[in-house]
């Protein structure tokens, strides 16, 4: 049976940003419990009306974000958008849709994926921006906030970043491992180096 791959152009890796993207597209999925707990913890933080509550809420959210960052990625995700079911499968460290090329819903699925992808990119951008802005605010307020408050906020932000980056790091680990195996199997000599934050493989076969 021949198949066609409906690939997303950028790696969708982080499930909390994917969760937001699905919601924005009006879709549903079986959210892992950790995402519900994070949503609740965010609500508690937003409602915290005194210093002690805010510190506690920050630590609770930080703990959950760390748990999310270190949890095993889901092998597959089932989404329903506009009555269309889409199954994302994890492959090469990111989520992809695989469909038989005679699937009559292919155009609708492609349209949903494109919507999700665009929401996802916007969500990642927004989260990154939010982290940067909050860090700047903290820096400005460091003389008025108590050390406990500052520490609580910082830990939470660090873990927001960790949750955002860990999935990408995991993808990089999986892709590099696969690449090294592919090149070695073909008899390439590999030279690996870092240029800034990029990993560069120079492969030579004589």
């Amino acid at each position: 049976m021949s198949t066609v791959y409906v690939q997303v152009d950028m790696p969708i890796t982080q499930i909390h940003c994917l969760d937001e993207a699905i919601k924005m597209a009006g879709g549903t999925w079986q959210r892992p419990e950790i995402l519900n707990q994070i949503a609740t913890a965010r609500g508690v933080l937003a409602m915290a009306d005194d210093t002690i509550n805010r510190i506690n809420a920050n630590y609770q959210l930080a703990k959950l974000l760390k748990e999310l960052a270190t949890s095993e990625p889901l092998d597959s995700i089932n989404i329903t958008i506009d009555g269309i079911n889409i199954q994302l499968t994890r492959s090469h460290g990111r989520y992809t849709v695989r469909l038989p090329n005679y699937d009559s819903q292919l155009p609708q699925i492609q349209s949903c994926i494109s919507k999700l992808q665009s929401n996802y990119q916007a969500g990642v951008k927004k989260l990154k921006q939010n982290i940067t802005e909050t860090l700047t605010q903290l820096e400005e307020q460091k003389d008025i906030l108590s050390s406990e408050q500052l520490e609580g906020e910082r830990v939470r932000l660090q873990n927001e970043k960790l949750a955002l980056e860990s999935a990408n790091k995991q993808r990089v680990v999986e892709v590099t491992k696969e690449l090294e195996e592919k090149l070695a199997a073909r008899g390439f000599e590999i030279r690996k180096r870092m240029i800034g934050k990029k990993i560069v493989y120079q492969a030579v076969r004589r």
């Binding site: 950028m10 790696p11 390439f188 990029k198």
Partner: protein, 197 residues
Amino acid sequence: MSRNSVGDIDTLRVGNISEHSTIYGPGVRFVIWTQGCTLACKGCWNKQFWAKSGTKVKVNSLIAQIASTEGIEGITLLGGEPLQQAEPVLKIIQAVQKLGLSVFLYTGYDVEEFDKTMQACFDNSDIAITGRYIQEKRDTSLRWRGSTNQIVHTQSEFYNNLLFEERNEVEFVISEDGIVSMFGYPDEELRSWASEI
């Protein structure tokens, strides 16, 4: 003016830039993919650089970017077809050589097809690869080129001591968010794997 020129000698249409690559010439090089090529070689896998689109970059700002890039031995011009923008390309070649950097030029034209400006680009390059890519003559064991008809011209003292040996080279760049880019001369299976990921 070169017969293929768009007329603006201060602007180059650029398809892509890699500030550090080791696959297109000796050492670490600043690589510029020029945008636009009418040669349309069958089997070309840089078709995205055929259209006359891309980003219009001021030659002076490109030279400044090259000058501020650390750790490079030279620049490589490929495409697209660099010699279809021969005037700005010549300006870049002359400027980077004043910076003490070497120039590696790819062109799909053969030497006998050059006009005056194209010839000047060729003459001022330290190494040049000439000739169309011919799919039927594809050979991934070649160094720096894709088909056996393409010629390597080493034509300056810069690479007098260069030890040239044929070999298959592929370069993969993985960004921190997991985006994989592939350069060089991969076999079909490697190409297909890279496009899948």
